[in-house]
């Protein structure tokens, strides 16, 4: 039990180290919780920074009022998918109410594809189903993320941020074509 002076008197350093303010079972739970949470933090950190499972970062700024007419986005319709190295592709995309430009993308199986996306009006989202591409599209900013497409098929990409009355109809299609073997 504690004595009168340390309980009600002016707090001193001895009191902060008082024995018994924490139950032994509680202390074990305390330690277990810390170990668990540190393990989580290390796991996602290693996966992100060492193994390449990364989130978008700070890429570039643009002017949403003019970016659609400026390179490299100005060429987005005529030249939607650019091969920058064998098997590596880049897409410069504009999101706008209520469509993506380009709206259909086709790449061969096994491609690595990098998206650079920005908006010329409000905020949008870009989620390509069954891939790790999940982006918040913010006017004035460029969102960049890379993924590798190993399986042939059709992957819808959809807007997941409310952007106005036509929001639910805003989607496009990514096609991954089976390789020639």
């Amino acid at each position: 039990m504690t004595d009168e002076t340390s309980s009600a008197g002016s707090p001193g350093p001895a009191e902060t180290h008082e024995e018994g303010w924490i139950d032994p079972t509680e202390r074990n739970w305390f330690r277990f919780s810390i170990v668990l949470l540190v393990a989580f933090a290390v796991a996602v950190g290693v996966a992100g920074f060492a193994l390449g499972f990364q989130v978008p970062g700070d890429e570039a700024r643009v002017d949403p009022r003019t970016v659609a007419d400026e390179a490299p986005w100005s060429d987005r319709i005529d030249n939607p998918v650019r091969e920058v190295a064998p098997g590596e592709y880049v897409v410069y995309m504009i999101a706008r109410q209520f469509r993506y430009e380009p709206n259909t993308i086709t790449v061969p199986e096994g491609s690595t594809i990098t998206f650079y996306v920005t908006s010329i009006d409000v905020q949008h989202g870009l989620k390509i189903q069954d891939t790790n591409i999940n982006l918040q599209i913010v006017p004035g900013q460029v969102s960049k993320l890379t993924t590798t497409l190993d399986k042939a098929g059709t992957y819808p990409f959809i807007c997941h941020e409310f952007c106005g009355l036509g929001h639910a109809g805003m989607f496009g299609t990514l096609t991954v074509e089976a390789g020639e073997g």
Binding site: G9, A47, D63
Partner: protein, 551 residues
Amino acid sequence: MLITEPTYQVTKEEKRFIGLHLFFAILALSIGSLFGPLQAFQYSGLDLYPYIEPIFKSYYQGLTLHGVLNALVWTTFFITGFLTLTIIKGLKRPLVYPTLNKVGFWTMVVGLVTTAIPLLLDEATVLYTFYPPLQASSLFYVGLTLVVVGSWIEGYGFFFTYRAWRKENPGVRTPFVSFAALITMALWQGATLGVAVEILTMLLPWSLGWIDGVDPELARTYFWFTGHPLVYFWLLPAYLSWYGMLPKQAGGKLFSDSLARLAFWLFLLLSIPVGFHHQFTDPGIPQGWKYIHAALTYGVAFPSLLTLFTVVASLELAGRKRGGKGLFGWVRALPWGDPSVSAQLLAGILFIFGGIGGITNASYNVNLVVHNTAWIVGHFHLTVATAVTLSFMGISYWLVPYLTGNRLWKPKWAVAQGWIWFVGMIIFSNAMHVLGLLGAPRRTPLGSAPYVPEEWSGHLFRVSFGGAILLVGVILYVVIMVRTAWSKDKLGPDEQVEVPIAEALHDPQRTPAFLDRWRPWLIATVALILIGYGPQLLDMLLNIQLTSPGF
């Protein structure tokens, strides 16, 4: 301890004042909750919006009303009212400046009305996150500001009251329920600086045409500075009840006064510099800063894990005292027939899953799987719409009889109401989580979206079905509240409801003094915010681009 504790009877006028908070809270919940099922029904193709189109123009207007009224108004009004009582009852003294608190309250009411006008006129259909450059009527921003400022003023009233109490009671540990209320309000004052700056420096002047454009990414960053601790502003009053009241209601004691206080301090310390975990998929924020916020988010999970331990231990004490035997027999022995207790227990059970989901969301790259999907909506219906809302419903089952002196209308129905909410939410929220994992976006009328595959239809139906059950649950709650508040069935003089304040297992005076001193914790909180937000915010401000006009 040695100080003789005066008894303080809460006056009729104080009860009336607290009751007014609840009136507006429940009014907002009644209106806002009607839109929830409309969203849920739309998912399985039953779109009722065309039938109400003369009044409400779109799914998105309904969604905005649902979010603003339920997540912002119901919570804020309930919390300020409930905390007023825990300040008065815990400190055993009246508010030192009751007029100040009244000014705060009526400022909130004026703000609510000002916000409601553009919302109802479909001139603020921007959802409750109001991300620019979607632009609302300036009245919307003015109204929100007034609600926040009003709540600040009520908070000042609490702080002044605490200062007066402290002078009268040197050396005494702050009674836990008041301590928890003060931390909740301190957290709120710090947290809301984000939206205050966002609205006053960008959105309001922009909506009035004084500036041409805004910087949307900076606005998002301000918003989430507030947005995450907002969650803790909702949650801490429920924790206050779970720690400081529920043990008493269940017939036991608070297991550890020390850890309860430590948990509250850690929430204050850690709940603000974690906002980037809502922005993992955003451009414009370096990965390093996102990771730091992810790590700090694991830090703020720590006091929730402490809470799990202490609350369960307190309830186990109660269950065993009531004759519960064996590993889990004490759970059955708890007073499940008390609607206030059962609602809060059920809220706590679902919150375990809410917490696990929250840790998932915070997990940096794992967030890419769930960001802006229906999973998130499923998640916060376990947290704010169950852990918080169902607890508040449970609290009101003793609070309204306490404030009015009336008998609770049909207590058995009140017990059923908690279970209805619990079951409806399990169905709704599980379906939303699954849909999210399948890739379904949030904030979208999936019943009419062209890309929805057939395989989602079973889950979409479960969303509607859960929503229907929840509608029954909320209607039953409102009916019980109305019938209790306007009842003629007065409680007798020996049946009066008392505010359930749990004693701690050990004398709170044994709690180390550092857990009852404000200065070191406040300094640490400000320092951690400066470290966690300072460099990135400064960089964004130095590179500000006000280039986005309104849409």
